[in-house]
Amino acid sequence: MVDVALFFSAVLFVIGVVGVLTRRNAILIFMCVELMLNAVNLSFIAFSRLYGMAGQVFVVFVMSVAAAEAAVGLAIVISIFRHYESVDLRNINLLKG
């Protein structure tokens, strides 16, 4: 089962990457990143089935970090939205140059 789980984890991760590359809405890109994190969690758990509890503990950390990141990221999105009236990534190019 572990190898199957790893396979699924890989597929989910790649789908997440594809999602990041194809979408333009900032929030949806964020959600694809969450999908990638989930895929990684799955692979951690799969390995923890083989190698002990460290994998599961790590998943706890990943989740808490993901939560923190989601909070802060969405706060950023909100403040950007207030400024640009849109979350389309094409309009947010202050990093240019």
């Binding site: 990457v17 990041v20 590359l21 333009r24 900032a26 890109i29 990534l89 094409r90 947010i92 190019n93 202050l94 990093l95 240019k96 140059g97």
Partner: protein, 725 residues
């Protein structure tokens, strides 16, 4: 003394004598150089009359001194410190000559020296196994050279006081001349090849400085450059020979090389190569074929310079080198034959060119090349002492000839200066009939001409006759006769050398008599107004001429041959030089007693050749038929070829110089320097940096989506690298 005993330590008998002051010999002229140089520079800060070195836009003429401006209404411009220089310049030379005489007397009193006196002053190059000390070696050969250099040098310095009197570069001239003598003394006193090379290079440098003394005229500067560059080619040969010596013998001092040379294979490739490379250096310094081309151009310098450097001393350095390296050349018969053949061919070649030259100094220049050829003939056949003998007598009569021509040119210049004409003061076609105006110069120059032609009993007769005799002697029972040179048997080569030398001797008499005829005999072509202004030079210039005249007349007594033993002690010079050159000469061929009849026949033949040459000249050259240079018609036919010196300079230009210049410009400069280094490396790297920057800037769009793409592609690439590994 046999060679092995020369390897003993420095001889105590000379300690505590004047020889202790050996180091002072070059230091005196060096001090003169420093003082005169300071005076020259000091004069530059108080700008007076325009010295070309002071402010770069002097108006000095290309030809002889005495005149600083082309404008005849200006008074000639003496340098501010000329008075001090007139004292310092010659004084150091006279002091050096005095010291040389003292040392010579000490040597004479010490009797037979078992080994040369070697004084080491400081360690110069201590690098690993190579240990070269700055040391001087005093032996009989060095003594002779020192006496010639300081003696003739002192006379020429005194002459220069008068000749260069009104030149704005007066102290600079004496500074360079003193420096030259200093370097020349280092050359002849050096105890090892590297120290000799210091002097060798130094005299080349001073030659360049003095040839281009009036450098504001580009032709003079070019002549100086030509001399230096052609010399450099020869110096390459000298260096390679030194490298070969070091690599194989691990010694560079004369004592050590002499010892090591005996271990080399006789006539082997190594010793022949070493000798031939040394000879390449000699062809450069002593103006033999193929590197003689700088000497005629060197006549652009002041005439006393031509007398000292290009007649008496510097150009004889090559002969001295071979005499010094006798122990090497005696081991390589092929090299000896090469030297002799080159000397003979050069002697004849230059003599033919001298026949058609109109410039009085050019005739003398080619004469020098020719006479140097004679010296090399002697050196090539192993008669080193004879070569040195001819060197000494040549210094006397060639120095006299040059100084005499300087006297003539001085008079011509003074005359032109008076009337404001701008003709060529050195062209014989503008001279003629000067015997009445310059009687002393006339007589003295005839003495020198008779000497150089080989008329008995003047100096040249003894030395030239001895050279011819030695060549004939070597055709039997010598290492040279048994060797083969380029497939020809040595005996045949030596006979050919003899015939060439004889022909050259004949032509020598011809062209020298021609010079005298056109300059001093016949009607005067200088011009009506100038004729009255021609007069003898002041005594400060004529005095040294007289001394040299006496030496040219009686110098032959230095080495009287056996049949003329009634005249005085025989072979004085040869015996004096025997400890240095005797063994090497003996290795080449034993001295055998020739039948008195043969000897008298030889001498008679030589005299006949000399007198025949003079007669031919009187018969063929009619001074009355000449016209002044301005009106002269260009020459035709073979005479034209001779006048253009067989177009050798043009050939060298086309064959060697132009390809190098064009190749350098087109390949090295345009291709490599501009194209590759500037274009590809410098500009190319700048372009690359800008291109990379441009690419980088294009990536910074600020579009997060594109950044995500970049991230994904990067991950793809890294994973790809991992998978492929």
């Amino acid at each position: 003394m046999p060679l092995p005993l020369l390897l003993a330590a420095a001889t105590p008998p000379l300690a505590g004598t004047a020889a202790d002051w050996l180091w002072l010999l070059p230091v005196l002229p060096l001090a003169g150089f420093a003082l005169n140089g300071l005076l020259s520079l000091a004069g530059a800060f108080h700008p007076g009359p325009a010295d070309p070195s002071a402010d770069g836009h002097g108006a000095a003429d290309a030809h002889a001194g005495g005149e600083a401006h082309a404008d005849e209404h200006h008074a000639p411009a003496r340098h501010r410190f000329a008075g001090a220089t007139s004292v310092i310049g010659p004084a150091v030379l006279i002091a050096a000559f005095g010291l040389a005489v003292a040392i010579w007397m000490a040597m004479r009193d010490a009797g037979e020296m078992s080994a040369p006196l070697v004084q080491t002053y400081f360690s110069w190059i201590p690098v690993g196994a190579l240990h070269v000390d700055f040391a001087f070696q005093l032996d009989q050969l060095a003594m002779v050279m020192v006496l010639v250099v300081t003696g003739v040098g002192a006379l020429i310095h005194v002459f220069s006081v008068g000749y260069m009197r009104d030149d704005p570069g007066y102290p600079r001239y004496f500074a360079y001349l003193n420096l030259f003598v200093a370097f020349m003394l280092v050359l002849v006193l050096g105890a090892s090849y590297p120290v000799m090379f210091i002097g060798w290079e130094g005299v080349g440098l001073c030659s360049y400085l003095l040839i281009g003394f009036w450098f504001t005229d580009k032709a003079n500067a070019d002549a100086g450059k030509k001399a230096f560059i052609v010399n450099r080619i020869g110096d390459f040969g000298f260096l390679v020979a030194m490298f070969l010596l070091w690599a194989n013998l691990h010694a560079l001092d004369f004592v050590g090389v002499a010892a090591g040379a005996k271990g080399l294979a006789f006539g082997g490739a190594l010793v022949t190569a070493i000798c031939l490379f040394f000879f390449l250096g000699c062809t450069g310094k002593s103006a033999q074929i193929p590197l003689y081309v700088w000497l005629p151009d060197a006549m652009a310098g002041p005439t006393p310079v031509s007398a000292l450097i290009h007649a008496a001393t510097m150009v004889t350095a090559g002969v001295y080198l071979i005499a010094r390296s006798g122990f090497l050349f005696a081991m390589a018969p092929v090299a000896g034959l090469t030297v002799a053949v080159t000397g003979a061919v050069t002697a004849l070649f230059a003599a033919t060119i001298g026949l058609a030259q109109w410039d009085i100094k050019k005739v003398l220049a080619y004469s020098t090349v020719s006479q140097l050829g004679f010296m090399f003939i002697a050196a090539g056949v192993g008669a080193y002492a004879t070569g040195i003998f001819h060197l000494v007598t040549h210094a006397f009569f060639k120095g006299l000839l040059f100084l005499g021509s300087g006297s003539v040119i001085y008079a011509m210049h003074a005359a032109y200066h008076h009337t404001g004409k701008h003709d060529d003061a050195q062209d014989m076609r503008n001279m003629g009939g000067l015997r009445t105006a310059l009687p002393w110069t006339f007589v003295l120059m005839w003495i020198a001409t008779l000497a150089i032609a080989g008329v008995p009993l003047f100096a040249g007769f003894f030395s030239k006759d001895e050279i011819l005799a030695k060549v004939l002697e070597r055709t039997t029972d010598s290492t040279l006769a048994s060797a083969t040179w380029l497939g020809l048997p040595g005996e045949f080569v030596l006979r050919a050398v003899f015939i060439l030398a004889l022909a050259a001797a004949l032509l020598t008499a011809v062209y020298m008599t021609r010079l005298m005829l056109f300059t001093f005999h016949g009607p005067n072509r200088t011009g009506e107004a100038e004729r009255a202004q021609l007069h003898e030079a002041p005594w400060i210039m004529t005095g040294p001429l007289v001394v040299l005249g006496i030496l040219s007349a009686f110098g032959g007594w230095l080495n009287v041959p056996d049949p003329l033993g009634a005249l005085g002690p025989v072979h004085v010079l040869s015996h004096w030089l025997e400890p240095v050159t005797g063994a090497a000469t003996a290795m080449v061929g034993a001295e055998h007693e020739a039948l008195p009849a043969t000897e008298w026949a030889m001498m008679g033949g030589a005299v006949l050749v000399a007198l025949a040459g003079i007669a031919i000249a009187f018969w063929r050259f009619k001074p009355a038929a000449l016209v002044p240079k301005a009106l002269a018609k260009p020459a035709t036919g073979f005479t034209n070829v001779l006048e253009h010196k067989y177009y050798v300079d043009e050939i060298y230009d086309r064959a060697i110089v132009e390809p190098i210049v064009d190749g350098s410009r087109d390949i090295l400069w345009t291709g490599i320097d501009k194209g590759l280094i500037d274009g590809l490396f410098v500009n190319g790297s700048a372009f690359l940096a800008r291109a990379l920057g441009w690419v980088g800037s294009k990536l910074q769009t600020g579009q997060l989506g594109e950044y995500a793409w970049a991230l994904a592609l990067g991950v793809l690439a890294v994973l790809g690298a991992l998978t492929l590994r």
